[in-house]
């Protein structure tokens, strides 16, 4: 059950909020989506969120999630520790990710890992693999993957990232209305760079969205906030 499977209509209105343990009726052969388990033919919600129910699938859009890494995800990580031939990255998941020297941004002499990436550095990387205990290995080999030296990293609840930006125009108008460079990462982080006034505009928009983030019926107003022109 990955948090990223949680998708639904942009409009949360008309949906029902369910709590863990809520009985959702018989499965009747429908696909069991995010936040739902089956017990002897009966479906039970296991997460707090909005119930999405149709002929094919039953799932819950969670109100709150933690990022779960999946191979191929673009993530923003912060170096937490350095060893002679690998780095440990905080990627906003329950576990630190490993970045081996061979997948790092550059070659270093043995023991010189610190000169390439040091504790506190921020990097844009991709999830290479995830094992069954959610431990992940990340890579910096790939187009655009690099150390980030300017701008700021902001947080957005991971499950909102996809619903808010499912329409690519939302990000486009956010960038143009604030005059900032922005990269959305899959792990609930967003890189924002521009002059300090522009960055403050994005930060204050995100602040408003975080305050509303638990209200699944407010998705449209959140999108509106992101797209509103700033003067």
């Amino acid at each position: 059950m990955s948090d990223q499977n949680a998708r639904g209509g942009r409009d949360g209105r008309g949906t029902r909020l369910v709590t863990p343990g809520a009985s959702l009726g018989a499965s009747e052969g429908r696909r069991i989506g995010h936040g739902v388990v089956e017990n002897e033919g009966q479906l039970i919600a296991v997460k707090l969120g909005a119930l999405i129910e149709n002929e094919e699938e039953v799932s819950v859009i969670p109100s709150h999630t933690r990022y779960t890494p999946r191979p191929g995800d673009l993530v923003i990580g912060v170096v937490e520790a350095v060893q002679s031939n690998l780095w440990f990255l905080d990627i906003n998941a329950p576990f630190n990710a490993l970045l081996p020297m061979s997948l790092g941004p550059g070659k270093a002499e043995f023991g010189g890992a610190r000169n390439v990436l040091n504790v506190g550095n921020t990097v844009l990387c991709r999830i290479q693999e995830v094992d069954e205990t959610h431990s992940s290995v990340v890579t910096m080999k790939g187009l655009g993957l690099r150390r980030i030296d300017s701008g700021i990293v902001e947080a957005i609840p991971p499950h909102l990232m996809q619903s808010l930006f499912s329409d690519s125009n939302v990000l486009k108008s956010l960038k143009s209305s604030t005059d900032c460079r922005i990269i959305l990462a899959d792990n609930g982080r967003m890189w924002v760079d521009g002059d300090s006034k522009s960055m403050s505009n994005v930060i204050s928009k995100l602040e408003q969205i975080r305050a509303m983030s638990r209200d699944f019926s407010s998705l449209e107003s959140m999108v509106e906030i992101l797209q509103t022109e700033v003067y």
Binding site: V78, V79, G120, T122, I148, G151, V153, S200, E207
Partner: protein, 258 residues
Amino acid sequence: MATPPVPELLKTHLTKLAESDERLDGRGRFEGRDVIVETGVLARAEGSARVQMGDTIVLAGVKFQIMTPYPDRPTSGGFMTSAEVRPVCGVHWEAGPPSPEAIELGRVVDRGIRESGCIDMEDLCILPGEKAWQVILDVFALSDDGNLFDAFATAAMAALRTAIIPGERFDVGEDRPLPVSKTPMMCSYHRVGGRFVYDALRREEIGGGERIHITLGDDNHVHSLQKGLKGAFTAAEFDEIMEHARSRCAELRDLVNN
């Protein structure tokens, strides 16, 4: 890896903001968050308060015990402060015995109140040499988004100002309000992006440098100072902070007294 590293980007960004005299949440350099004070919030405490400043929320509770006065001061009662910063209030606070940070918090709050002389220790005497009241102030953090120092100090004074000495329960006379003659107030400043700001957010604290805590009494007398964390500051910087503290402490005092 218990303490997460300070992301370099945050430090860089704070410095950049400082260049145009801005802050993360759009506040001015010496602008505080709105302070909400409620009293009488704890049913089992003889005096209590809840203070909220943005996402920082703290409680303060006053309890009384009967103590034997110290031999060198047979007609004096006692006053004690204990700060509880338990892991409930933030992911970065860990379980276990009180951390040096929590102990510092309690002691700095204690000093400001004690040294202002706002509580008349002689008034706490019940029977000279034998019985006196001990006032115990417990400050407790519920949610830490920065500047626990000022939140604690404000809640502490609001709780003390509403405290009732429980004479009847201890069978030593009638219940009466704890006499509190002054309202010492604390203002805290953190070095963020090179300059000092008032009422720092948690993110400003972790990306910032040294901090200075000033407690002033009613008449602007200084009652306690504390410089914390690594860093050095100039006399001119201190003058600027002190000037702001004088006006801000007066505002906070009005808030607590009413």
